[in-house]
């Protein structure tokens, strides 16, 4: 945008900047507001009388002597034992990402290197699986899981999430491997490697950028899951998101809403950090599929 002809007229520049500002407020304000409000009492967070109370924390000051209070966090994390749910989410995410990357890498590599018609049908099947709402499968899980006593425990949820994750992982890694020239592993095979050795010695060293990006999205899928956790986990094994929803069910007693607000903020913080460190990879991953068309 160096040439003078492409420089915007002032009016357009102002309009465009105002629009960006508006979008910035739309995108960021709800988070800032909720984080700020999570350190208040419920009457300040939902301030009917005077909305500025939510900012200054008048009621909070009246109750606790300071405009900030961590009672919401204390109540959620210690009283309601939210840390258990956080721990469960950590376990689920770790295993889902590891397992689905391991098996997805192998499958995605195979799909990218085979030229038979069935690879197309496998990819199309994966696309349909990717488009199905996960809840449609739950009715199929419940009876066998009850029958074999698999319902309610973390390993079942992990393996189900891995399976639901596979279609996306396969598509993503398939397109990443397509970008690695097949001459690389062909030449390794000419030198006497079999397919697996070629994969291990030649492809694995160069595949990490694609795998890391795919891993980020697998993590997000496992972390953001509500349906599977809410239907397949027992109360004591709940992950974070179903637990937040459960807090919402018990909003009658005062203070409980603030527990939910505090847990919502707690659950958003890791995502915030994730975007901070991996912004480039996330943007790259979102556009990778698009560039391929």
């Amino acid at each position: 945008m160096a040439s003078r002809a492409q420089r915007m007229p002032t009016s357009l520049r102002v309009a465009s900047s105002l629009f960006v500002l508006l979008w910035f407020i739309l995108a960021a304000f709800p988070f800032i507001w909720t984080v700020w409000g999570s350190f208040k009492v419920e009457l300040d967070f939902f301030s009917i009388a005077d909305w500025t109370n939510a900012i200054t924390g008048e009621r909070t000051k009246a109750v606790y002597g300071s405009p900030f209070t961590a009672t919401g966090y204390h109540g959620a994390w210690i009283q309601e034992e939210f840390w258990r749910n956080v721990l469960n989410t950590a376990i689920v995410c770790f295993f889902v990402v590891t397992i689905s990357l391991t098996i997805g890498t192998l499958g995605g590599y195979a799909l990218s290197r085979s030229t038979y018609n069935y690879t197309f049908w496998l990819l199309i099947t994966a696309l349909i699986f990717r488009a199905m709402p996960p809840i449609t499968l739950v009715a199929g899980y419940l009876l066998p899981f009850f029958e074999w006593n698999l319902w309610g425990i973390l390993p079942t949820t992990i393996i189900v999430l891995v399976a639901i994750n596979q279609p996306f992982t396969l598509w993503m890694l398939h397109s990443f491997f397509k970008n690695i020239p097949s001459e690389l592993d062909e030449s390794a095979k000419v030198d006497g490697c079999n397919q697996f050795q070629a994969f291990r010695r030649v492809i694995i060293p160069v595949m990490w950028p694609g795998v890391i990006t795919t891993g980020l999205f697998s993590f997000l899928l496992a972390y953001n899951d509500f349906v599977v956790g809410a239907t397949l986990l027992s109360e004591s094994n709940r992950t974070m998101v179903p637990a937040v929803n459960a807090f919402m069910g018990t909003t009658q007693t005062e203070g409980n809403v603030m527990f939910a607000v505090a847990s919502v903020v707690s659950a958003t913080v890791p995502l915030f950090i994730l975007v901070m460190f991996f912004q480039r990879q996330i943007v790259g991953g979102l556009t990778a599929g698009a560039v391929k068309g």
Partner: protein, 342 residues
């Protein structure tokens, strides 16, 4: 790659999808054509002197258990569950068709049937959110692209937040703000001048709120994709257009948008798939009374004291068929690409 090698590489992921996606689909189809056995009732006549004889109907536990053990799938009902009132409601549909004479009346009456209500909301959500997301994403991308270099990274960071945040949590955050006690909600009450003005009370407002959430959640994705596309826009094309005297609007219309067209198709496809799944905002907004999507309809059947597996299964099967119909144009196109690429 030889078939056998392919098989070994693909086996783990294939097995996972077969066991936990394909087989559950099969099981869902089976459950949707079998209904659970009703309890076997027996009439017991008990006679007491002076009072006389009364007959009582009780559940014959042994016979019921025996029946369930004999045919664990339940009794075969064919497509009855699909056609009952909770789903396609064939009888009611036919009656309505005969009794109402205007299209508007027909559709508003049809909206009282739960399955059609859920379908109407889901399709509205897909049809409204998808184009709005694309337009908003494009405008944001153009506006951010005109920003100073240092501001761009910051804007992308904040723009990603609504997309990356857990859908249930994102919808809760918005819901607390638009709730009649929240900051936006109370501002709306003040604007409307009506103290009873509430989101929870109005179906129309609830739909609007859900649609706004949908656009808010999805626009960053469209923005990021289009923004990446703008970086590859060849500057000589724009310059040529300027030399020919194109206005700024014409440049966008005839140079930028055609350049981004493949990306628009891509975003539209992803959005169609994701919007069809709409579920979490309905839970987060506590909107079940005003809006049901196909997914939340299934969720409601599965929850609660009585798990209505047959009913949930029938809806699931119809949802999967809907997904296949929605995707069919894409499937045809992908097949052509695949044939061409080989």
């Amino acid at each position: 790659m030889r078939h056998k090698t392919f098989l070994w590489f693909f086996l783990p992921t294939g097995l996972a999808m077969l066991l936990f996606i394909a087989m559950p689909i099969g099981s869902v189809v089976m459950q949707s054509i079998f209904a659970p056995h009703p309890a076997v009732l027996i009439e017991v006549e008990s006679c007491t002197p002076l009072v006389g004889c009364t007959t009582e109907t009780t559940i014959d536990q042994n016979a019921t258990a025996a029946l369930r053990a004999e045919k664990p799938l339940g009794r075969f009902v064919g497509l009855d569950i699909y056609f009952d009132r909770g789903h396609l409601a064939v009888d009611e549909f036919r009656a309505l068709w005969a009794s109402t004479d205007s299209w508007v009346g027909f559709f508003s009456e049809l909206g009282n049937l739960p399955f059609y209500r859920a379908m109407a909301f889901t399709l509205t959500f897909v049809a409204v959110v998808t184009p709005l997301t694309i337009v908003l994403g494009l405008i944001i991308a153009l506006a951010v692209n005109a920003l100073h270099r240092h501001l761009k990274g910051l804007m992308i960071f904040f723009s990603l937040l609504p997309m990356i945040v857990t859908p249930l949590i994102g919808s809760l955050i918005l819901f607390w703000m638009v709730d009649s006690r929240g900051v936006i909600g109370s501002a709306l009450v003040a604007l409307a001048g009506d103290p009873d003005f509430s989101l929870k009370a109005s179906t129309g407002l609830m739909w609007v709120a859900l649609l706004v959430y949908g656009v808010w959640h999805a626009a960053p994705f469209a923005f990021v994709v289009f923004y990446a596309g703008l970086q590859t826009l060849p500057s000589d094309q724009l310059e040529a257009a300027q030399i020919d005297g194109a206005t700024r609007w014409q440049q966008v219309k005839y140079v930028v948008v055609p350049h981004l067209m493949p990306l628009v198709t891509f975003v539209a496809l992803i959005q169609l798939m994701d919007n069809f799944k709409v579920f979490e905002p309905i839970i987060g907004f506590n909107a079940e009374a005003h809006a049901q999507s196909l997914s939340s309809f299934i969720y409601n059947d599965l929850g609660g004291e009585t798990r209505q597996l047959s009913s949930a299964s029938a809806t699931s099967v119809m949802t999967i068929i809907g997904v296949a119909i929605l995707l069919s144009p894409v499937l045809v196109r992908t097949w052509r690409d695949f044939k061409g690429a080989r």
